[in-house]
Homo-oligomer: 318 residues x 2
């Protein structure tokens, strides 16, 4: 059993956090991860208030373990709404991938004694959120699925570890116990995974989409959205290749049209199983996902793989 | 002391390979790395035959340890020239970042009983060079300096380890003992480093250029060369930003002009110290390079850092 600083802070058994993923990170997955000893997270994203209340209450029905909510505090009104719901419903952990210092998001959350996890793509942003009070920093590499920066996990994690004094969690490209152990070697106190949990028995993702991830190679992702200002890594398919071509050919001129075209594409592939016209956020660790397992098996296997690998390295020492 | 499969194969003490870097990887650096227990490598690249002979003979004067030569077997005639020199001079190890199956490069090298190290950016190419007979495969992530692929080191290494049966070495984003240990956890048998060795006392790089790397952050690199077909990660400066802008605006139309403009830019910054008009290959691990040290100190520190971190993780186990 690997116990790190974040285990005590978050009240979890294993230093494994499930990333907040639109549509997939709902109450079933969240509760399954928390019940298996990790930290499940509900993706609030654009959820209307009543839906977020529903997701939180359903999660409470399924687990008595700690879980978190991932919010996107860009629209001021929605942040206030979501904050009130989270506080009223007694959620103790919030993760955010965006923090506007002008909005005092972190200090507002701290007023409600909520532990704040900030996801950052660079040393510069890690320093900023630490100054704003972040309790835990997730260093997310460019190989992750979803919205990404430009720095890869392996060089990013130790550079952030050296720059801040709060615990750091590694995210991006991690799918098994080797990745967990590597993250700890880099100085991280745990890992966050998204793609691996998408293909779990408890995930509500469409079975065709799960099957597509199971056969994906590390070359099957593509980054789009440079022109819209929020680059995203997802499955390379008809729609995302079309998007990338348009960006290359037309640059900023295609921005508004692409933003319109992009609406609703996540639901289309994640829930409806449309593999060519939907946008499926997916990281380069997809090639490590070769079997649909229960969340408990995913986590138990990661811990035992990490322990086995640790011992194996011990035998290299002469 | 960490001994892995590649130590015996290459006759080295530590599983640390120095990457083949134009201008920097000459006899002084090569010999220093081999003398310190790693594998030094001379970058043959575009070297005229007589210069390669000179570099190999100077290296022999400075070390009796094994070292390698990195070749670029694209131009058929030059490969034949280089191969003859390497064989005649008794070099036992060759690394290559490009292998054309039609040229039978690997089997030609094997005829001279040379151990062949192939650098690859994807699982697909790893499988191909293994089929062609590669003895060791370097999995190079997109965060590395110089010519790069798209997959990051952390997800790339375990996926290649699972796909091939020869030893795998991790490259890209590694600059210290944490990176070495993380690579071993991912299943690698060692690491290859470039950027870290550029800023060593034995490196002939211009002192201004070394100073620039020492103050670089992980955000200071840029990838150019998409249109020329060989993307390269280097220092973000006036010239490389100009190149990137031209690529974005003109695409393929700018290809020939950019290729002409790019000539001689490495020498300009690496040897002459022109920080804005030269092209300095540099990886995202640059932020881990904070001190100019001797090669021996770099390697000794990496080994002791890895050992310290290994023990520290042991104490996490309860």
């Amino acid at each position: 059993m690997l116990e790190t600083a974040i285990c005590k802070m978050l009240g979890i058994k294993y230093p494994i956090i499930q990333g907040g993923m639109a549509w997939v990170s709902e109450h079933n997955l969240t509760a399954a991860v928390s019940n298996a000893g990790g930290l499940g997270i509900i993706a609030a994203g654009n959820l209307p208030g009543e839906d977020l209340v529903h997701e939180i209450r359903e999660t409470y029905k399924l687990t008595d373990k700690p879980f978190g909510v991932n919010i996107v505090p860009i629209a001021g009104v929605k942040f206030t709404d979501h904050l009130k719901i989270i506080a009223d419903e007694g959620v103790r952990i919030v993760s955010l991938a965006f923090s506007d210092p002008k909005m005092s998001v972190i200090s507002e959350l701290h007023k409600h004694r909520i532990t704040v996890i900030c996801v950052v793509p660079s040393v510069r942003l890690a320093r900023r959120v630490e100054n704003e009070g972040a309790d835990i920093i997730v260093a997310m590499g460019t190989e992750a699925g979803g919205h990404v920066g430009k720095i890869a996990t392996l060089p990013l994690v130790p550079q952030i570890v050296d720059a801040v004094s709060v615990p750091v969690v590694a995210a991006g490209g991690i799918g098994d116990g080797r990745g967990l152990l590597a993250a700890l070697c880099l100085g991280a106190s745990g890992i966050q995974m998204g793609t691996r949990f998408m293909v779990s028995k408890e995930s509500i993702m469409h079975s065709d989409t799960k099957a597509r991830i199971l056969e994906a190679t590390e070359e099957d992702t593509i980054v789009t959205g440079m022109v819209t200002g929020s680059p995203m890594r997802s499955l390379s398919n008809e729609f995302t290749r079309h998007w990338q071509t348009r960006e290359k050919e037309q640059g900023q001129r295609a921005k508004e049209e692409l933003q319109r075209e992009g609406l609703g594409r996540g639901y289309r592939v994640i829930i409806e199983g449309d593999m060519e016209q939907g946008t499926l956020p997916m990281g380069q660790g997809c090639g490590l996902v070769r079997e649909e397992k229960s969340v408990r098996d995913i986590i138990d296997d990661i811990i035992s793989e990490a322990e086995t690998m640790y011992k194996r390295i011990g035998t290299m020492k002469t």
